[in-house]
Symmetry: C2
Subunit: 410 residues, 2 copies
Amino acid sequence: MALLKGNAVVGQSGGPTAAINATLSGVIRGVSSENSLIGKLYGMKNGIEGFMKEDFSDLSSFFDNEKKLKSLEETPSSFLGSCRMKLPKLSDDDRIYVKVFSIFEKYDIKYFYYIGGNDSMDTVMKLDGYAKKIGYEIKIIGVPKTIDNDIPITDHTPGYGSAAKFVATAVKEIARDSSVYTLKSVTIVEIMGRDSGWLTAAAALPKALTGKGADLVYLPERVFDEERFIRSVEEKLDTCPHVVVAVSEGIKYKNGRYVAEGLKNEVEDDFGHKILAGVARSLERMIKKEIGCKVRAVELNVLQRCSAHILSLTDVKESIRVGKRAVIYSVSGQSGKMMAFRRREGKYRVDIVAVDVSLAANKVKYVPDEFINENGDGVTEKCIEYVKPLIAGERKIKYEDGMPVHITLE
Amino acid sequence: MALLKGNAVVGQSGGPTAAINATLSGVIRGVSSENSLIGKLYGMKNGIEGFMKEDFSDLSSFFDNEKKLKSLEETPSSFLGSCRMKLPKLSDDDRIYVKVFSIFEKYDIKYFYYIGGNDSMDTVMKLDGYAKKIGYEIKIIGVPKTIDNDIPITDHTPGYGSAAKFVATAVKEIARDSSVYTLKSVTIVEIMGRDSGWLTAAAALPKALTGKGADLVYLPERVFDEERFIRSVEEKLDTCPHVVVAVSEGIKYKNGRYVAEGLKNEVEDDFGHKILAGVARSLERMIKKEIGCKVRAVELNVLQRCSAHILSLTDVKESIRVGKRAVIYSVSGQSGKMMAFRRREGKYRVDIVAVDVSLAANKVKYVPDEFINENGDGVTEKCIEYVKPLIAGERKIKYEDGMPVHITLE
């Protein structure tokens, strides 16, 4: 196999996470190890959207020391900016592809790394398909990231561990906060995850591992039944005056309607995903009406994906590693692949493999039945064992003036 | 002066903070240093409410090692539980006082420490007043705590620094999160503090000290004007596509109505029931209607007061110190006093003094004019200099299974 020499470009796409920049750091580190093949590493601003405008920055020269890379790994949210642009079908209109590939040529780009979720893997798949169609030699690799953990094929996704650590910690602290008075109370914590309940499942950890946390956990993988919910809360209140409920924003009734719909008009994002808010408020209203006790709704909101002050060390290390590995796979000739984790049996360890990106693009991985309890209001031991190692360890963050230090491209 | 020998009791009251248990640890440490005078240290469950039921635990024997005390200092929310019970006026009905003092006698209690906010200082004042009235020898000391920082006389309150550190950090992270897309957007962060804007003022720190954070900051000390608000947001959007607004839950219109209760802005559920949304939701709707750009409301909610995973080291140290000092002042003969911080000129340092509790009880300290900018949409340099040292330093927290370790009385 002939070695492919040229420049590389990296982009970030979709919703940001607290560890997405650790993967970027991994790509930068990986490229710098391959400097016999790869010249410059360009960063595309705002993903493929900025790429089309040739909005590049020279990452190789900006990240010229270890201190900057460490800071990048502790900076939440997409350092390069993000986008939600979806490429047209290859058969529909190839003007956009002609444009992209002319830019590849102009900048002598032979390596393309895209860090993103299910939708971003679609971009990787289409670009790789077009390259093969026109016989353009370029290596295109997708690196997964999402707090939702809903990408198939990979054991878990970079970014999930840190979000799960924040959720588990916040729920543990909220359970403490909600139990100081003698008055009966219900606290509802709303957690992100439109279609899959992975992040909400992390809310089950504090109770399972330390005895205090969320007493009831509702994932979108199970139909929500209002009557059964009220009965379960009442039963819990009988034994403990303070009940904590963790609920996914995406839970639905039997008729397919979102529980959150009762309160808010739906909006759709560019991909046609419904934007939801307010399930905790819906449950709050039910409890006020049916039980009448004190009740509080807490939305963890964007803090779930940007709380880089409490990063899972496991997640950060793996996020860096997967970025590095993307570069190694690309120079070894792979293209149209997504990096994926394979968990070994026994003591927690993962291997990184390259899988065909079409296996992940536009697909969703749900929490499996064996991870959800019989009542549909909690998770199983197996689920706890799955999540536990992903939130393990703490990255020691650098602070200045009492706040975490972030790095900016300027 | 004859030395007063006997037992001691400590309680926690009002809303919890992330550092209130550090003060409890200080009291425990203080009492153990005074073991020639003080025998047992009882902890009253749920403040004066549990005291009336003689619901005590023996803290001296439970906290028998340093490890437990350290864990207590990292546990958020009131370890002993809390209450919101207010004692009647001394002149109205003394039955409750007769009961309290009979319990003092029964348990040979000569020292009484109460950790709480403005209302709890009222309890300290009244109990001390009654003791003096009937000539019962007991030393009653109040130790301030509140995330609101609204207790007069003291430079600041234990608990504020950690809450302010969380707010500053969260706003810094949210500002990152909200700026990844090219689309114009406004993010509104709702912060606790119904009457005083101290905690909201902390949201101004990231922008002032690091260049990125909240662009507009609204405190309840200034009347809120909707038109001016929309104009300010539009002006900010002209220079930067991503605007972050920090707002206190308690801001009001000129007519005295809370912005959070604006009738026009109330949400209706399926049954036409009006749901009172928070102030962030009110501002969200204003912006959607008047500007029409993407807008997101984020409520920091109870995380502000219970996020013990990101404690200000300054706050924790001072919280312990003020608890210890309460014991020292009491054995030196003081009673009816509240512990207060006095800030020295120059490099940040505080002294702890005992002030007459009546100066603080039931009173509120507002953010002074010199701390608020002319437009009423931000804070001054002087305010930043005031808050900055209070969030300084990080307590290294113990983690287990990926989550912070908390201690429980069992």
